[in-house]
Point group: C2
């Protein structure tokens, strides 16, 4: 491999591969300035989020660069979706252990282009550097909501019904298959099912279409660190208790096969990360409108439980009923970095 | 060392050490939500910047945690200062190779508190995780300018005078002394001078007081990757040529001693990073007002050269005259990560 096959210099990396992603946003200044000027829509708050991803932690270094790029942006946009915010722009800081091959960089930029077009955003600035350690992609995303109207996680009310978009555990099953493709045989998955599961891991789809429906929710957040952990956060922040039923959890067909073959895989459904679905707490009086708006947007939603008063004090704020109708317990309650 | 001496869990890290830094900003929601809601001042653009720093690249892992925190925020705020933006808020993503000691985290938070109070900002959100590689701090800063008025780097005009704040090379001399304290003897520095130099490396001071004066500038940027490189960027973006005089460059007394003892240290002055001063291009007709406003703000500024037409085409856009009155050449032209 010749030296020329790798990106030469920070400015060439920015101008050749990244500046096209900034085209069309005036305040990005073609990525030629030190800062970007974000112009907020009058009367709106800017909903902001940063969640860096690193090779070996959030993705595999040998994942396709298009997929890495997509996921890096999508996991952040998933938070905007759960806050009913409209995505507008993002900053990206890239840290490479070594100068990337030009082909890699071209594919990475193509993945970003696909993702930002789908989500309706522009790259407006960022930073690139080289340092030891894994490839790291630090996105900061900007979305907008009418001023003072960001949907919160801590405002769920007793009597609410708990809804979730899409399916749970699919990405965790995909991750397991990404690591050990032979599990597909144990779980009796078709090649198509196995591929679909891996795709769910590689290409999360932020539930942006749910925005109108979320106008009927009292609280919402995305499920990224596992259902039990994230629902626990919502319950704790809201000072309420949540009750779930395993029988009501929405599963893809491949996940259903996996848990049937190995009931231990239920932990992938209730406690593994990477779902990137939206968890919404909906007052009983708004359920009909919420479901109708979700359906109109083409977003599948499932009721998985309900919110009650927190009578247990400092105890667990999430109870889950197993398939046998008895209280279930899981020793993993979601991903914690510490 | 007992296990209890280290931070236990992501939520405790956030609530115990970081949430106090968010107090007073409503849209930070006490760091209890997934996103923050930034409320822009009506009629303003939000000037945004992200520039992550990593142990071993931008600071030493055994630097005092207060200094690491200060620098991580200050290097980003320096960009806001150069764009004449008023700092408002920041996001911070922290990546630790292992759970930090509680004492370290307490001191780090104290350094952030000191910096954000000085700069007039609040922490409004972020992320923490553990991953292999160096400690990394990824700040995203938010400042404000009247809509459409962000000061650019690419708008310098022939006939402008080039000014710089403070002194050049001080942090590079400090870095050299941080690595090899015995250089102080070779350079005949007093212990006080050596300490002052190291302090310039550890605690950059964003030139926020220059904001009013920058109303008289045609272009500005901060000097972070070395004077020649950054002035070259300004000249290239502006399609002009810049002429510098080494005799006019403002030096601290310790830097003067270092270059006198070892003329090779001039490369620290013109090409090393970490100055975090503001480079401003000022039309001749505005020079008097620029200098008066800078003086009124207590910010030292020095004229170091001038802007001319770019007649050389694709050639070098920065010429520097040496102390002997002849063209000088430096083989390092500033820090490039690739």
């Amino acid at each position: 491999m010749t030296h020329d096959s790798h990106v030469q210099g920070e400015e060439s990396l920015i101008q050749e591969f990244l500046a096209p992603l900034a085209a069309g946003y005036q305040g990005a200044f073609g990525l030629t300035d030190d800062c970007a000027a974000y112009s907020p829509t009058p009367g709106h708050d800017v909903v902001v989020k940063t969640d860096p991803v690193a090779a070996g932690v959030h993705f595999f270094a040998d994942d396709a660069p298009e997929d890495i790029a997509w996921k890096a942006l999508a996991v952040n946009v998933s938070d905007l979706a759960a806050k009913a915010a409209v995505p507008r722009a993002y900053l990206m800081a890239l840290s490479f252990p070594e100068a990337p091959p030009r082909d890699w960089m071209r594919a990475f930029a193509a993945g970003l282009q696909a993702a930002q077009s789908k989500f309706g955003m522009h790259l407006i600035g960022g930073d690139t550097d080289r340092r030891p350690g894994p490839l790291t992609i630090s996105m900061t995303v900007f979305g907008e909501v009418p001023a003072g109207r960001m949907l919160r996680r801590g405002t769920a009310q007793p009597g609410d019904q708990i809804y979730v978009t899409g399916t749970l555990g699919s990405a965790a099953i995909g991750l397991a298959l990404r690591r050990r493709p032979d599990m597909a045989r144990d779980w009796k998955l078709s090649p198509g099912e196995a591929a679909a599961a891996v795709q769910r891991y590689l290409r999360p789809e932020p539930r942006l279409a749910l925005r109108t429906a979320l106008g009927h929710a009292s609280a919402a957040m995305d499920v990224s660190d596992g259902l039990l952990k994230d629902l626990g956060r919502m319950a704790k922040a809201s000072s309420v208790a949540a009750k779930l039923s395993m029988a009501m959890l929405p599963l893809d067909s491949f996940t259903r096969k996996a848990v049937n073959a190995d009931p231990g895989q239920w932990s992938a459904v209730v406690a593994a990360g990477d779902d990137y679905e939206v968890l919404a707490s909906v007052p009983q009086s708004r359920v009909r409108d919420f479901v109708a708006a979700a359906q109109a947007s083409g977003t599948a939603v499932s009721r998985i439980g309900s919110i009650g008063a927190n009578t247990s004090g400092a105890g667990s704020s999430v109870e889950i009923t197993g398939l046998d109708g008895k209280p279930a317990a899981f020793d993993r309650t979601g991903w914690d970095h510490f």
